[in-house]
C-alpha cells in the first residue's frame, strides 16, 4: 500500500534511475518540503543538476523545458498549483503544442508538466483551478488526470516516457489516498479509461477528486439496492470513448461529474459524445455536475456550494431512476476539514 503522493515519488525516482535524461525543476522543487514530498530524495540521489529549484519565472521556465526537450532531455516542470500554469500558457499553447506539427514532424517535445489542484482551507479562486478542460481544448497537448495511487504511478511513468508534451494534473486531496501500487515500474496507456466500480443501474463518469465522491455516493445507493458503475476517463486527451460508451450502453443512464467548471468544459464534451453515441440506449438525458460558474470563494459555506459532491450525485441518480429522495441526514460524507488543519 502506498499513498498517491508516494506513488508519484516512486515513479519519479524509478524513471530518473532508468533514464538519465530525465530532469525535474520548478519553483521550490528542491526545498525542504519537496513539493508535498512528491519530490523527496531526488536531489540526494540524482544531484542538483537533475533536480533544481528555479526563479519565479513560470513563462521562461516552460520555454526552458521546451528547449531542453528539443535538445535531447526529458524535463519535468513542476507547478504547485494549476493556477500558476496560466503564466505559461503562451509556451504551452503556442509553442509546445505546435512545435512538432509546425516542423512537419522534425521535432518532438518530450515534456511533462506536473501540476496540482488545491482545494479547501481558503485556497479560493487563485489556488483551486483544475483547467483540464482548458488544456484538453488545445491540439498537441496530452492531459492526464490520475485518481488512484495505482494510476498516479503508472500514468506518471507513461507521461515521462511519452515523446510529447503531457500535462499531469494531480489533486492535493488525493495525495493521502492509499492503494495497492506494485513496487516495480509499470505503465498505463494514456487514453485508457478505468472502470472503478462495476454496476448495472447507472453510469457515473467522474474525473479526479469526483471519483472519491462518486464512490461515496455509490456506497450509500448500494444500501438501497442501486448499483452504480463508475468510469474514470483518466485522461482528457487522448480520450477512451469506447469504454465510456460501452458502460452507458449497458446501464442506459449517465451522469457526467467533471472536476472542473461545467460551462464549455470537458464534461460538456463527454455529455455530447455520450448523448450522440448512446442515443438509442439512453433512458434519460445525460446529467452533468461540475463547479458553479463563479470564481471559487474562500469561506467554507460558499465553497461547499461551489463544489459538486456525493449528495448531489445521489439526488441526480434518484431523479433518473424516479425514486423518492432518501434520508441522508445520518450519512457520513467526505469532509476533508475533519482531518486537515492547513495551511497547505
Amino acid at each position: 500500500m502506498l499513498s498517491y503522493a508516494s506513488a508519484i515519488n516512486e515513479a519519479l525516482l524509478q524513471e530518473m534511475e532508468r533514464d538519465n535524461r530525465v530532469i525535474i525543476y520548478g519553483i521550490d522543487v528542491a526545498d525542504h518540503k519537496r513539493t508535498f514530498a512528491t519530490n523527496a530524495d531526488i536531489v540526494e540521489r540524482f544531484g542538483p543538476e537533475r533536480c533544481f529549484s528555479t526563479p519565479l519565472s513560470e513563462d521562461a521556465l516552460m520555454g526552458f523545458g521546451i528547449g531542453a526537450a528539443l535538445s535531447g532531455l526529458r524535463p519535468i516542470n513542476v507547478h504547485m498549483r494549476v493556477d500558476f500554469t496560466l503564466l505559461t500558457i503562451n509556451q504551452l499553447a503556442n509553442m509546445a503544442s505546435s512545435y512538432r506539427y509546425g516542423s512537419g514532424g522534425k521535432f518532438s517535445v518530450p515534456l511533462v508538466v506536473r501540476t496540482i489542484v488545491g482545494r479547501g482551507w481558503g485556497q479560493a479562486y487563485q489556488h483551486s483551478k483544475t483547467l483540464h478542460s482548458f488544456f484538453g481544448h488545445i491540439p498537441g497537448l496530452k492531459v492526464v488526470v490520475p485518481t488512484t495511487p495505482y494510476d498516479a504511478k503508472g500514468l506518471m511513468i507513461s507521461a515521462i516516457r511519452d515523446n510529447n508534451p503531457v500535462i499531469v494534473i494531480e489533486h492535493r486531496w488525493l495525495y493521502y489516498q492509499t492503494g495497492v501500487v506494485p513496487a516495480s515500474p509499470y505503465t498505463i496507456d494514456l487514453g485508457k479509461a478505468n472502470v472503478l466500480r462495476k454496476g448495472k443501474d447507472i453510469t457515473i463518469i467522474a474525473t479526479s477528486w469526483l471519483n472519491a465522491e462518486a464512490l461515496k455516493a455509490s456506497e450509500i445507493l448500494a444500501k438501497r439496492g442501486i448499483e452504480v458503475e463508475i468510469v474514470d476517463p483518466r485522461s482528457v486527451y487522448p480520450l477512451d470513448e469506447k469504454t465510456l460508451i460501452a458502460s452507458v450502453k449497458k446501464t442506459g443512464r449517465c451522469i457526467v461529474a467533471d472536476n472542473d467548471w461545467s460551462y464549455a468544459g470537458f464534461g460538456a464534451e463527454l455529455a455530447a459524445r455520450i448523448s450522440y453515441a448512446c442515443f438509442d440506449s439512453l433512458r434519460a438525458p445525460v446529467d452533468r455536475l461540475g463547479f458553479a460558474h463563479v470564481p471559487c470563494p474562500t469561506t467554507r459555506v460558499l465553497e461547499n456550494a461551489f463544489y459538486p459532491n456525493a449528495g448531489n450525485m445521489i439526488r441526480l441518480v434518484e431523479q433518473q431512476l424516479n425514486l423518492k429522495p432518501m434520508d441522508l441526514t445520518h450519512e457520513q460524507f467526505f469532509s476533508y476539514e475533519n482531518k486537515f488543519k492547513g495551511p497547505f
Binding site: 520555454g63 526552458f64 535538445s71 532531455l73 509553442m95 509546425g102 516542423s103 514532424g105 515523446n163
Partner: protein
Amino acid sequence: MLIGVIFMRKKLNIELYKKLFLIRSAETAIIAHYQEDEMKTPMHMSMGGEAISVGVCFALGDRGAVYGTYRSHALYLSMTGETDAFFGELYGRATGVARGKAGSMHLSAPEHGFMGASAIVGSTIPLAVGSAFASRMLKTKKIAAVFFGDGAVDEGVFWESLNLACVMRLPVVFVYEDNGLAVHATDSERHGYQSIGRIVGNFDCKVFASRTTDVEKIYELSRRAITHAERKQMPVFLHFQYYRYLEHVGVNEDFGAGYRDRAEFLVWRRKDPVLVQRRKLISLGISEAVLMGMEKRIDRQVSSSIVRAQKAPFPKVGELTNHIFSE
C-alpha cells in the same frame, strides 16, 4: 604566413558574401513573385539586416543551435544555404521545410542547427536557455543562440530568460537585432530607459554592441563574444543595430506611412551590408568578373528553386492530421 592570413581572410569574406548575396537574391525574388499571390504567407523581410544572421552564424559554425523569429529568412538561409525547401514552404508545397504547415513565419531546419522560430514575439528566447542547459548536461558542444528584435525586449520573458541564463551560468548567445521598431512603434515610445546595454550589463552577462553593417566585423565580434561565453560559462548579449528596409509585414517600402523618414533609409542604404561586402571583395582583389559569376550562380540557384516550388505538389489532405504527436 602573411600570405596565408590574407588568403584565409579572402576566403572567409567570399563565403560571407555568398551568404549575404543568397539572402538578398532570395528576397528580391520573393518581391518579384509575391504579387502573383502564390506565396500565401505573411512575409516579414530580412532586407537590411542580413549581415547579423550571416556574421553570427558563421561565428557559430556547425556548433550552432539557433532560434529565430517570424523574420527569419536571413537566419534560415544563413544556417542552411539551401533554397528548395525554403521556397517549397513559402509556396505551401509538400516539398517545403514543414510540408507547408509552417510558412514564412515558422521556419526550422534542425538538421542544420536551426531549432525553430515563432510568430509570438520573444517566445523562442527561453527555449535557447533550455538548449544551452541540455548542451551542458549532454555534453553535445552545441552553442545555443537566439535572435530577437526590438519588440522582444519589451516582453517579460526576455528578462526572465536573461536572468535564468545568468543565475544558471549558461553560455547563451542573445542576439538583439535592433531596428528601432516594433511593428511601427519606435523605441522611444516603448522604452522607459536610456540604454539597454547598461541594464543588461548589470546582469552577469557581457554586452557586445555595434552599429556596423560590415559582416566581417559582426563575425569577428560574435566570435569574441562566443569565446567569452564559453570560457566564462556565462551568457553574452550581442546588440546589433540595423535598418529595416521594408514594411513590417509585406514586401514593399512604407515610407509614405508617416512613421519614419525615407532620408533615414538613404543614410543606411549607403552602408548596405551586401554592397559593403562587395566593395570589400573588390578591394581584396577579387575581380568584377569573378563576382558576377558567383552572383549569377546564386541567382540561378534561387530561380530554379522557385520553378521547382511552383511545380511541386501541394500536401495531400491527409497531411492535416499528421505530426501532431510523436510515437
